[in-house]
């Protein structure tokens, strides 16, 4: 039953969650709340409602987006003094002294044209600054919404105030990225409202968070590996259902962002070697080691036989594998027509160990499942270009802003990612000089000198 584990443990662990749940089930002690949860009628709907309430409780409130001139004026409003004093953890009488930096206020006063320059008390200074805010704004080109960054940059707030505001944001569950001026604005705007402090909760410190993230990463990684393993198995078992057979490639492309592998597997214009060999191969030898990724496949024991007009070829395909110094025969083919053999030979010799797909028990099976470009037509040519000039083409896909290179519906569209995650491409582009121009310009820059060219 969805949400039960979540709600139960939130209630067990968190006072805040208990309050949220208590607003529905009654203001009860923890044990009683848990008992009520265990005996819920129409549990599914009610648990969903409770989960939403808990999440709402933990969703940080939206803070005022900007600190305005009006907020500055509110600082001297007696109605906000208690809230400010509570935020600054000081008596009301010394709030402004604790909040504002006298030196910086004096500078601001001077900036705004005041030449008296004798006041040292921050409160008096601030009161003098207030009527001069429009002058200050005019002088620094500030609109009414730009006061937040200004007072932060000009260090109007004391270091103590910054600390206190940060602490306050944490205890109230406000967004951690909130700026000090935003927090101050929120304090001023919520003054007088009943504010519930979260109290000193147990915390994960930075190192604990690192460990937590690490575990999340590992678990997510294992889930994806599991997904890939099962998808490959399913695709082998049920190749006729396109959703099933395409899932591994879809996961590679959109979930693992292995864009090269994903595109090669999803885009058409290719045939498997198994199709091209037309059943002329024998049962693949049981070579299961990993191929060396950079080594090309080779063809050996090539023999042509048969009458001249229906010549056929027998050959073996070998591959260098990890841990072996000699190439291993991974597939034997007997009786392929000579006319068909020549282009297939070229394709096989262009394949490296890393090009073999993962699907298949032996290297021979993996080779048979490997896709190579169709031999004719636009699709075949494009497919070959994709293979040969992969880096250029994939950069183009990404840099031209294509985020959904395969727009057909995803195999299980409501659950799977359907877009590449890369950022928007640059607005501009660049072209460069060719080598001749580079050489010439460098030579020109040494005009008048005797130049000796070195090769």
């Amino acid at each position: 039953m969805e949400n039960e584990l979540y709600v139960v443990w939130m209630v067990r662990v968190s006072e805040r969650a208990r309050t949220a749940v208590g607003s529905v089930l009654g203001d009860l002690a923890r044990t009683d709340l848990l008992r009520r949860l265990a005996a819920l009628g129409q549990a599914e709907e009610r648990l969903a409602e409770l989960a939403v309430r808990i999440q709402a409780e933990f969703t940080p409130p939206e803070l005022p987006a900007v600190f305005t001139e009006n907020h500055l004026r509110m600082l001297v409003d007696p109605r906000v003094a208690p809230a400010l004093a509570q935020a600054m953890d000081c008596p009301q009488a010394t709030v402004l002294g604790n909040l504002l930096d006298a030196d910086q206020l004096a500078l601001a006063l001077r900036d705004s044209g005041d030449s008296t320059g004798t006041i040292l008390d921050p409160e008096l200074l601030f009161l003098s600054v207030l009527p001069r805010l429009p002058r200050l704004a005019a002088r620094h080109g500030l609109d009414s919404r730009a006061w937040g960054p200004f007072l932060e940059d000009r260090r109007w707030l004391t270091p103590r105030a910054l600390d206190q505001l940060t602490k306050l944001a944490r205890t109230r569950g406000w967004p951690p990225a909130a700026r000090p001026s935003q927090i101050l604005a929120a304090v001023l705007e919520t003054a007088g409202e009943e504010v519930r402090s979260l109290g000193p909760e147990r915390e994960f410190d930075a190192l604990a968070l690192i460990e937590l993230r690490r575990r999340i990463g590992l678990l997510a990684e294992h889930l994806r590996e599991e997904a890939m393993r099962r998808a490959e198995e399913a695709a082998l078992m049920e190749p006729k259902l396109s959703s099933v057979s395409r899932l591994p490639a879809w996961l590679e492309l959109y979930e693992r962002n292995a864009v090269a592998i994903g595109l090669r597997r999803l885009l058409t214009g290719a045939d498997s070697l198994s199709d091209l060999l037309q059943g002329t191969h024998t049962e693949p030898p049981a070579v299961t080691a990993e191929p060396r990724p950079d080594e090309f496949l080779r063809i050996t024991n090539e023999i042509a036989f048969g009458a001249l007009w229906k010549r056929r070829v027998a050959f073996d395909i070998t591959c260098l594998v990890q841990g072996q110094s000699d190439p291993q025969v991974i597939l034997r083919c007997r009786g392929l027509r000579k006319d068909d053999y020549t282009p297939i030979r070229g394709m096989i010799q262009q394949l490296r160990g890393r090009d073999l797909v993962k699907t298949g028990g032996t290297l021979g099976e993996r080779l048979l499942n490997t896709q190579v470009a169709q031999r004719k037509g636009l699709r075949g040519h494009l497919r070959r270009v994709l293979h040969r000039h992969g880096p250029e083409l994939i950069q183009c896909v990404v840099l031209t802003g294509i985020r959904q290179p395969v727009p057909i519906p995803s195999p299980w569209h409501e659950y799977l990612a359907t877009k590449l995650p890369y950022q928007s491409p640059p607005v501009h582009d660049t072209t460069f000089a060719d080598p001749t121009q580079v050489n010439q310009r460098l030579r020109d820059s040494a005009a008048g000198r005797r130049i000796e060219e070195i090769r």
């Binding site: 968190s14 999440q55 930075a206 099933v244 037509g377 183009c396 000089a433 050489n439």
Partner: protein, 849 residues
């Protein structure tokens, strides 16, 4: 005279307002002599003196020195905003904003769109979207790796993180030699890591490529610098294979050294013969193995070399790394690097030790048990679901479970696994030690690497982005130091008669080395300018009159364009022409490729879009969704027994009893299997009634008073379905703990595949199982994404435990008790235990894993 000069010491011990005329003069002279590597104490004292005692007059006669003092004061964190207007101080501070004096020196970085990416004359470019790596190898493997290019953010972050880790591992492993400085550079757009070629190091096994990139501490934590570098190369190769947005080229280390010597000899010859200039133009032979190297800008003039050395650089005070803003930056940087890495290794070590402990306890209890006790407490066979992978150092889930005689298991398997795990724990301990050395030793390689990275980024006006916190902290620090660094470089180049544009180019990077204090000379940061030099695509001019080697490549002559497709060149073929060409029977591969590339360079957007459209697969058959739904429905019914019982057990362990009941209610199967579900239901009811786990076997087995009514009813149901099994299970239950009781319920359950076969026997049953696997794969992928998205919401520094649970709880719940998961519940449970701070119950742990 040095910092150890007693007069300077005495001067700095005095408060500036007590300085007399001689003191002031001494301080001024010391400032001029030391510039640009002036100590923080001297700068702060001089600034305070100027501000408090002499603000009405310039401190130095030369306005440049006054500006320099203001810049150094700002770099050390002195607040200059309060300077009184109108005076010489204010004048110096105002000049900081003058871009001609203190502005950036680097030319504007080119925008990297498709046309830039496709330019055939570009290879090693700092802004390139493709990460190009040159791996210099000798007979023992990689010696040095140079990675050039910004790359895409998603890939860059992985590579930069791994490069930092690799460099740390290498420098933490290497014993300090000589002055012990770190020569690696982990800059923005350029990374260079060297493992050192000296010494015969033991060859270490290569890491498997797949999966290597996901672990920041590789399982096979190879204990040699070469091994660490190999791990890094393995990551690059795996990214190349997966994305093609990384390209690895292997070059001979000897060729790299020789190329460096060739360029150096040009500078030497220019120095020796100032009458002529030597030009090594671009040959562009197009050789794929051409070397690319990061080489220093060497001086080509000998005059006054005693002060400057053979390469162009400046000294800076190491005190720059002591300011509050830099400390914050370093802290943010280390949090995403060394701390995380150390924590990873410690975590793995602790986990291994805990596993060893657990297995040792089990082994001991088996060894001390009598034969009768063994018969009662242990099954005659053990079901092995995992094996220990010696190479990876972790348990690997077996595809098919294997039965093993219990006696053999405890006599051979367990001691062997304990021994192997011990060895792995030892390796992790060594790794932790190495990392701690790398971070905490006197010259702290981690600190040197960080300083090099950040100084280079400031000088080149780039921003390191390994984490948002680092980025923020860097921007704050840059605000303080950037103007001073640019200004001092300008001054230094002017004195050496070097045109800044000869040195500040789109292919320039800066290498900073930390030189510790020696003989009373303070520690300094030694920042030198380097250039990427491509054997085939860089032109080099060595001219004594220029004072420095001049390197030029295509990026020096960049022309900004709009991103729209244009004609771009002479008559490129259009798409229609490509279609026609491909349709011709005599179309050669090379002809088509060449035409395609020309078309792509001219109209990248149009051509790539058309290509993708042409190769797009057809949508699935309209009836396919219904077929899948139908097959899945049958598969779900077939799998309901195993799935339902596993989910119910996981839910019960998590105290989600409504869920556990619901899962068991949905179980459908033969009576003998359904009976087991009812027995598990009885356990659920007891647990839900808060009966302690140790009391449940006795209570259930004897059906004693106090047994909850629902549990009693469940036992009746089970007995009705399979009297014999129920009686047998209940009879032995009081002699065992609950864990064994639960495990017995799961023992011998038919695999899902055979259940599917049974369910869909008319069609062979394989289709149902295939669709069931398919649905599992979809769900696992979805949950991985959901979990990562939830993890991204965590705060960086502190997070209340309940807030973390609120953010992650739903994602973990779905993995623990949701349908179509399986296999990862054990790991999810560990994560959940961390979030809640409560260990899950001991019973059923092995089954849930």
């Amino acid at each position: 005279m040095g910092e150890n000069d007693p007069r300077i010491h005495a001067l700095l011990d005095k408060l500036p307002y007590t300085w007399d005329r001689d003191d002031t003069e001494l301080a001024r002279q010391e400032f001029l002599r030391r510039r640009p590597a002036v100590s923080r104490r001297l700068v702060e004292a001089l600034w305070r003196y100027w501000e408090d005692c002499a603000s009405d007059r310039p401190l130095f006669d030369d306005p440049e020195h006054n500006l320099a003092l203001a810049l150094h004061a700002k770099a050390f964190g002195v607040d200059l905003t309060g300077v009184e207007k109108g005076g010489p101080l204010h004048e110096a501070v105002t000049r900081i904003a003058d871009p001609a004096l203190c502005g950036p020196l680097m030319p504007e970085a080119p925008a990297w769109g498709p046309r830039a990416a496709l330019d055939p004359h570009i290879r090693a470019a700092l802004r390139c979207a493709l990460l190009r790596a040159w791996v210099a190898v000798d007979e023992q493997g990689p010696v040095e790796v140079l990675v050039v290019g910004d790359g895409l953010p998603e890939i860059r972050q992985q590579v930069v993180q791994a490069a930092l880790v690799t460099s740390l591992r290498i420098n933490g492993l290497t014993e300090a030699e000589g002055d012990g400085y770190v020569t690696d550079l982990i800059g923005v757009g350029v990374l260079r890591i060297t493992a050192g070629s000296a010494g015969q190091q033991p060859a270490a096994g290569l890491l498997p490529v797949f999966g290597a990139r996901h672990s920041s501490v590789p399982d096979d934590a190879t204990a040699t610098p070469r091994g660490a570098l190999r791990d890094f190369v393995a990551l690059l190769r795996s990214l190349q294979h997966e994305t093609e947005l990384v390209q690895v080229t292997e070059v001979g280390h000897e060729d790299l050294v020789e190329f460096g010597q060739t360029i150096r000899s040009l500078a030497d010859r220019a120095c020796a013969d100032p009458a002529k200039a030597l030009l090594r133009p671009i040959a562009d032979t197009g050789g794929p193995d051409a070397v690319v190297s990061l080489l220093p800008y060497l001086r080509t003039a000998r005059e006054q070399t005693t002060a400057w050395g053979a390469s162009v650089g400046i000294d800076l005070s190491a005190d720059l790394l002591t300011t509050e803003r830099y400390q914050r930056l370093e802290l943010a940087h280390q949090r995403v690097l060394a701390d995380r890495l150390t924590m990873d290794a410690m975590l793995r070590r602790d986990r291994l030790l805990a596993e060893i402990d657990q297995q040792q306890t089990e082994l001991t209890s088996y060894q001390v048990a009598s034969r009768e006790e063994r018969t009662v407490r242990w099954d005659p066979t053990v079901l092995l679901s995992e094996r220990w992978d010696e190479h990876l150092g972790r348990m690997i889930k077996l595809a098919e479970e294997e039965e093993c005689d219990t006696e053999v298991y405890f006599a051979k398997n367990v001691p062997h696994i304990i021994k192997l795990k011990h060895a792995w724990a030892q390796r992790m301990t060594v790794l932790v030690d190495n990392l701690q050395t790398a971070v905490h030793r006197p010259h702290a390689p981690a600190r040197q690497l960080a300083a090099g990275r950040f100084v280079d980024a400031v000088l080149r006006d780039a921003v390191p982005d390994e984490s948002p916190a680092t980025e923020r902290a860097f921007r704050a620090w840059r605000e303080d130091v950037a103007a001073m660094l640019w200004f001092e470089w300008r001054c230094s180049l002017r004195e050496q008669l070097i045109d800044p544009s000869d040195l500040w180019t789109p292919h320039t990077a800066f290498v900073t080395r930390y030189l510790p204090a020696v003989d009373g000379d303070p520690a300094v940061l030694f920042t030198h300018a380097y250039s990427l030099v491509d054997e085939d695509r860089s032109a080099v001019l060595a001219d004594a009159r220029r004072g420095v080697l001049v390197v030029r490549d295509a990026t020096d002559h960049a022309v900004r364009e709009t991103a729209e497709d244009g004609a771009g060149g002479a008559q490129p073929p259009g798409w229609d022409e490509l279609v026609r060409l491909a349709g011709r029977a005599d179309c050669e591969e090379e002809t088509f490729d060449s035409a395609f590339l020309r078309a792509l360079r001219a109209r990248p957007r149009d051509v790539v879009r058309r290509m993708v459209e042409e190769l797009c697969p057809s949508p699935p058959d309209p009836g396919e969704a219904a077929t899948i739904d139908d097959l899945l429905g049958r598969a779900v019914r077939a799998a309901s027994l195993t799935e339902g019982m596993s989910r119910a057990l996981a839910a019960m362990r998590g105290k989600a009893f409504l869920t556990a009941r619901q899962c068991l209610d949905d179980v459908r199967g033969e009576p003998r299997w359904e009976a087991r579900a009812w027995l598990l239901r009885a356990v659920v009811e007891c647990t839900a009634d808060e009966i302690p786990p140790q009391d449940i076997p006795g209570l259930l087995g004897g059906r004693l008073p106090g047994l909850p009514l629902d549990a009693d009813r469940a036992l009746d149901e089970a007995a009705e379905l399979d009297q014999e099994y129920t009686t047998r299970w209940l009879a032995v239950l009081p002699d065992h703990d609950l864990d064994i009781g639960v495990r017995r319920l799961f023992h011998g359950l038919p695999p899902i595949r055979s259940m599917c076969r049974e369910q869909g026997r008319e069609q062979g049953g394989e289709r149902e199982f295939a669709v069931w696997l398919f649905r599992h794969a979809v769900e696992s992928a979805r949950l991985a994404r959901q979990l990562e998205e939830a993890g991204e919401e965590l705060a960086e520094d502190h997070e209340a435990i309940d807030v973390a649970l609120a953010k992650l709880g739903k994602a973990v719940e779905a993995i623990l008790t949701g349908p179509f998961v399986g296999g990862m519940r054990g790991e999810a449970q560990d994560l959940f235990a961390m979030l809640t701070g409560e260990d899950p119950p001991k019973y059923g742990r092995a089954v849930v894993r």
